[in-house]
Amino acid sequence: MLELRSLSRHFGGVRAVDGLDLVVEQGQIFGLIGPNGSGKSTTVNVITGLFAPTAGTILFRGRDIGALPTHRRLREGIARTFQNIRLFGQLSVWQNLWVAQNSAADQARQGFFARWLGGQSGAREEIARLLEFSGLAHKENELAANLAFGEQRRLELARALAARPQLLLLDEPAAGMNSEEIGQLRGRILKLRGSGVTILLVEHVMELVMGVTDRIAVLNFGQKIAEGTPAEIQADPAVRKAYLGGGAA
């Protein structure tokens, strides 16, 4: 599904991502972890096109997408959530999802005129499903800025799903959550895998990562220092040293 070959992104002298090789298979839940500043978010930003790579290639479903602008990558099937939630605060929950329906499938479903100039009725079903999934149906008309933090996170995820992605990049979705919320998030992620979405999970919160991923890669200073199953990673001394501090997780 996704392949990064010798991907690098430098900012002047800082090598945020340095020669990264990564392969994410279809249907996997792949975790990307590492200490702060290890290049996780930068990797996501390069994959989605917000930064151009300094070197290396990005292959999505076998195609080199390096030259595509961000909005085109979305249409190819890559969606993301943001670490610092970036909702459209002055739009309602419903509207946040509505403007995100930009996938190729949605473009085919309705004619140009209907899609852009039609009212809210055209998209009701699909958006209702997303709201149901995220537990936000009762807040449909609330301004996104007025939602509680947990609800905002759920909306952020729902909005990424509105684009019918094949690859979903989650950038630290569990930040600031308590155990119960993390459990719910885990449930939702597993349900998503069930519907065929491939997921790249960038995360700090081990509780979530270890419990939901098939495979994990560990970054440090922009380079991959380890890759394997959660059990392998937990046992890896190099990882322990760089990240877990040589002690219990």
């Binding site: 909005h71 979305l74 943001f82 970036r86 459209f88 605060g89 509207q95 899609r115 852009w116 007025n146």
Partner: protein, 288 residues
């Protein structure tokens, strides 16, 4: 009574100008170019009715298209860059248009006299309305048909996905890109629609004042254009209408007794208004 019709005409035309800026402002772009598109529409319509003998309605159609075309052409390079650059680019464009018409001569002889734009002297004798027996009342209604149409169009946009996407772009361009919105297409389209509306406004303006010149399309007019939606708030088109009524009806007319000092007051009032109410008269939304 004629005086009030005249005022209503002015308010109508300025509302069109304000609406043309409103749609661009929704996308978060500040444009000082609307007066330029207004000018293009004014000269286009004037030339078509005076020099080519067209009826006003098709002439206004061409005004809309020329305003739109110029807006699209300006939008493409200008909207690729960050917001503040757009302010500069549009300011320069507006001044450029004014300079262009300052140098623009195109006169032909009609019925023994020369008519048409004459550089710094401007374009006189745009007499479609008087020549066809339109009363002040008729002109006023005619103008307001267009104002209502423009407001209806923008109100429709506001309720449609397009308008919501415009506002999303205005909120957060990064997020908008990431959910698949083509920023350039959206911003240029808004600019183009704004250009069309400004073009129509300009065409109507040329005909009800019967005399236009480069100085009418100055930075002051460009400032009014964005002042209306900013002061009125971007919540709805009605804010812009209210702002025009407030500024032109109340301030301009009400302060007429101040004579020359009026212009002085505009600047001061804008500064004051922005300090007291940075989000505009109708302000930001609190509830959907």
């Amino acid at each position: 009574m004629d005086f009030y019709f005249g005022l209503a005409q002015l308010i109508g035309v300025h509302t069109l100008l304000g609406l043309s800026a409103y749609i661009v402002l929704l996308t978060g772009q500040v444009t000082l170019a609307q007066a330029g598109f207004f000018a293009v529409g004014a000269y286009t319509a004037g030339m078509l009715t005076v020099l080519a003998g067209w009826h006003l309605v098709p002439a206004l159609g061409v005004s809309a298209m020329s305003g739109a075309a110029v807006a699209c052409a300006v939008g493409f390079p200008a909207l690729r860059v960050k917001g503040l650059m757009l302010v500069i680019a549009t300011l320069a464009f507006g001044e450029g248009v004014r300079l262009f018409f300052f140098n623009f001569d195109y006169q032909i002889a009609k019925g023994g006299i020369k008519v048409g734009p004459l550089g710094g002297e401007g374009f006189r004798q745009i007499r479609f309305f008087p020549e066809n027996g339109w009363e002040t009342w008729d002109v006023m209604l005619f103008i307001w048909v267009f104002v209502v149409a423009a407001m209806a169009l923008l109100w429709w946009f506001d309720r449609s996905r397009y308008g919501t996407v415009l506002r999303a772009v205005g909120e957060d361009e990064l997020a908008a890109q990431s959910v698949g919105i083509n920023l350039t297409a959206v911003k240029v389209s808004a600019m183009t629609v704004g250009g069309a509306i400004a073009g129509v406004g300009g065409g109507l303006y040329a005909h009800y004042t019967t005399h236009i010149e480069h100085a009418s399309f100055s930075i002051l007019l460009a400032t009014f254009a964005i002042a209306y939606p900013i002061v009125g708030g971007l919540r709805s088109v009605f804010g812009t209408l209210l702002a025009v009524i407030f500024v032109q009806g109340f301030l301009v007319e009400g302060l007429r007794f101040l004579g020359d000092w009026r212009n002085l007051l505009f600047g001061a009032l804008i500064v004051l208004a922005m300090n007291l109410r940075p989000s505009g008269i109708l302000g930001r939304r609190r509830h959907a």
